[in-house]
Amino acid sequence: MTTPTAATTAAAAARGFSLKARLFRPATRQKLLAFASLIALLVFFSFASPQFLQTDNLVSILQSTAVNGVLAIACTFVIITAGIDLSVGTLMTFCAVMAGVVLTYMGMPLALGITAAIFFGALAGFVSGVLIAKLKIPPFIATLGMMMLLKGLSLVISGTKPIYFNDTPDFPAISQDSLIGYFIPSLPIPNAVLILFLVAVAASIVLNKTILGRYTFALGSNEEAVRLSGVNTDFWKIVVYTVSGGICGIAGLLIASRLNSAQPALGQGYELDAIAAVVIGGTSLSGGTGTIVGTIIGAFIMSVLTNGLRILSVAQEWQTVVTGVIIILAVYADILRRRSSSAH
């Protein structure tokens, strides 16, 4: 089917080049455009404040993205299935508390504490998954219930007090030391960022290359069709929530090791930041599409914005106003980008 209009003249011209170039050109441009909002923010803040573009500050932006980034990755899975997870924030805290129980209260070795955090995260995710897949409770409500349940449990288990990791001196190192800095002293990027990066790569591989990833997209696209194809949709949905819960466990480890303590009251409200990062990153709340790269960009947009406004000493109430506006604008920019890219 040939379509010789103005729009396709360019394509025809491109045909002179290699097939690859032709395929990749618009895609690359589209991917770069996804960064547009982030780059715009970076440029703006760099001009607005000399302090912004300093290594220290960039490192602290990276550091502050880690927790929200990992939570956002967890949310990405769930959101691609057209679900939502409001419990990620308090689940993170719950996992931190469980690590605290294992390491500090029970005095177990570090590896067991790490395992416990991820295990209990996965377990809670599993419960959400069962509620949603088997009992057909809408994700919003199931995870809202889980959010409250886990918030309460964290307080109960910790005795409403922070649990400190003073007896496990290696624990803070998980997030605060810098493996990269060890090899390249001028780049003291804390491990938390490295972990965020590793989680992102792993999540990306799972989403794009594995059967779980395929079903994640398929569930979000048309669950009934998947079921009619003979796939056990309930099972896979539970797996998705379980994996997402496990990733929240990693976020729990990151925040606990950064604060050298499990803060039982923290967590609520973090889910909105995580979901915002996912959506700013171009994942649709109606499911079926989404990328980890987008989510990471979204998380960085959030943390650059927060950091930049603080560096500019904008009054705090105005920071809130500006953040609200920028979230809307960033998503709008993404919508425009998609619209223009799909028009060609």
Binding site: T5, T210, R214, A218, S221, G288, T289, A343
Partner: protein, 508 residues
């Protein structure tokens, strides 16, 4: 020969509806077995029970003589039963290949990773077998309904089933594709695959079916060999009475007032510089191959999609149509070819769907809704179009496909537009109702309405159109008077591609 499938005394009820009432069916290896019946007769339901989608209330299903309980689609697959559903069941965000192999992805390393290359190759192989030129990587959501249907067929073929159920597979296909499909069905039959074929297109059934089972109101009527059974008697079995054919009488409308004129409508590459006039009291047929741009043109005129260039005149006056609302205000209605997504609010009831474009007619004091009047209107059309529904309060999603289509028609009849675009109006509609709709089209035209009918079934175009426009690759490639139109002439225009057209213009 021993039947592969035997169904006995199968009963299945839904809320307030007895869909199957002691239904029977048997299927022999290597036969194409047609299942016929009016809309809502229970054909799809029967097949869904066999495919593990619904569980039966009572009765027996035997496979190879053994009673089985088919609890899930997976169980049906395990028994070698594959199905193409009447409604599309695709994941729009996934590619064609991904859709085909969902649940059976070829695995690579560790059994966790998907072997995309293998999947692509296998998909290409199936497409080649179907004569389908389609990149397996294309996301299904970007395909037309017809091509999506082809993907569904490809998916069903990929199962290598012993029993293949096809529930109206050709509803969205054009003749070429139908021919390809029949060729494949022929191959399968010769390999001993048993095929259940559901369709409302009688000529198709004549061409490929070996035996026919007729159903009515969820009950088994009869099973007869296709060859030797006259169409009339099959139809009589289906509807329980004799139908009289309506003949087209091609009134001369060339002198009538022009009610709608489109000039140079252009939308990207899919509609290019299309112009046409539509007169009072005429039925204008739009013919063309799949993807010719007829739907896109109608949507553009209707304001459903933005246009790049062109203008629309209503009663000779230029009007600005930027949204369907504008179009409807100017008396233009459009019945979409995709009723599930664009035609109906399937979660709402029959009467509300019928009243939806006309809501303002049912207001008292400007805001309050006169429910009694809506109900009365709903009931009027349910009766007029013989829509099979327990009540006007039934949710539309619970009706059979054909009855849903009738509701789409009803809602535009009620809106009483002067210009009506019918995009594939008889898709999935049984013969009785089809005749009903043709009669209705004639009646509307006689009342002075101007009608556009878009159809991929050439016999249908020929039967109802007073005048035929043919499209190819987004352009209008020719016009034929109804009386002189023939399948051959239409096909010639429908395949007049760009280069040929340019050559023709040069000589003219």
């Amino acid at each position: 020969m021993a039947p592969i499938v035997t169904i006995r005394d199968l009963c299945k009820s839904f809320a307030g509806v007895r869909a199957l009432d002691k239904a029977q069916f048997d299927l022999l290896p290597g036969e194409v077995h047609a299942l016929m019946g009016e809309n809502g007769a229970g054909k799809s339901t029967l097949m869904k029970v066999l495919a593990g989608v619904y569980s039966k209330d009572s009765g027996e299903v035997l496979i190879d003589g053994q009673p089985v309980d088919i609890a899930s689609p997976r169980a049906a697959q395990a028994l070698g039963i594959g199905i193409i559903h009447q409604e599309l069941n695709l994941m729009n965000h996934l590619s064609a290949a991904q859709n085909i192999f969902i649940g059976r992805e070829p695995r690579g390393r560790f059994g966790l990773f998907i072997d995309e290359d293998a999947m692509r190759t296998q998909a290409e192989r199936i497409f080649a077998r179907m004569n389908l030129r389609l990149d397996p990587h294309t996301p299904v959501g970007e395909l037309t309904v017809a091509r999506q249907q082809m993907v569904e067929i490809a998916k069903a073929l990929s199962f290598d089933s012993r029993v293949l159920i096809m529930d109206e597979p050709t509803a969205a296909l054009n003749n070429e594709e139908v021919a390809d499909l029949f060729r494949i069905i022929g191959q399968l039959r010769s390999q001993g695959v048993a095929i259940v074929y559901i369709s409302h297109k009688m000529d198709e059934l004549k061409r490929i079916a070996d035996r026919v089972t007729v159903m009515r109101d969820g009950q088994y009527i009869a099973t007869v060999p296709m060859a030797g059974t006259p169409m009339d008697s099959l139809i009589a079995m289906m509807v329980g009475r004799q139908l009289t054919e309506v003949e087209n009488d091609f009134p001369d409308t060339s002198g009538n007032e022009v009610v709608l004129e489109a000039r140079g409508i252009t939308r990207g590459a899919v509609v290019r510089n299309a112009s046409f006039v539509l007169r009072k009291g005429e039925i204008l047929g739009f013919a063309g191959l799949m993807g010719a741009g007829r739907t896109e043109l109608a949507r553009a005129v209707f304001g459903a999609d933005p246009i790049d260039a062109g203008e629309v005149l209503v009663h000779g006056r230029k009007v600005s149509i930027k949204s369907p609302e504008d179009a409807v205000r100017h008396g233009i209605g459009y019945l979409s070819e995709d009723r599930k997504h664009f035609g109906l609010a399937t979660g709402m009831d029959v009467e509300t769907n019928i009243a939806l474009p006309s809501m303002k007619k049912f207001l008292s004091m400007g805001v309050f809704i006169d429910q009694a009047a809506i109900e009365a209107a709903g009931e009027r059309y349910v009766k007029q179009l013989s829509i099979k529904t327990p009540s006007v309060r039934q949710q539309v999603r619970l009706l059979s496909g054909g009855n849903q289509q009738k509701i789409v028609i009803a809602k535009w009849l009620l809106r009483d537009c002067g210009v009506l675009f019918f995009d594939e109006p008889t898709r999935g509609i049984d013969v009785g109702a089809k005749a009903e709709i043709y009669r209705l089209l004639n009646q509307l035209a006689a009342e002075g309405k101007a009608i556009v009918i878009i159809s991929s079934e050439l016999p249908e175009i020929l039967r109802v159109s007073h005048r035929v426009l043919v499209m190819c690759e987004g352009r209008i490639t020719g016009e034929l008077a109804g009386r002189e139109a023939s399948q051959e002439k239409i096909m010639q225009l429908a395949t007049r591609r760009e280069t040929a057209a340019a050559a023709a213009e040069a000589t003219a």
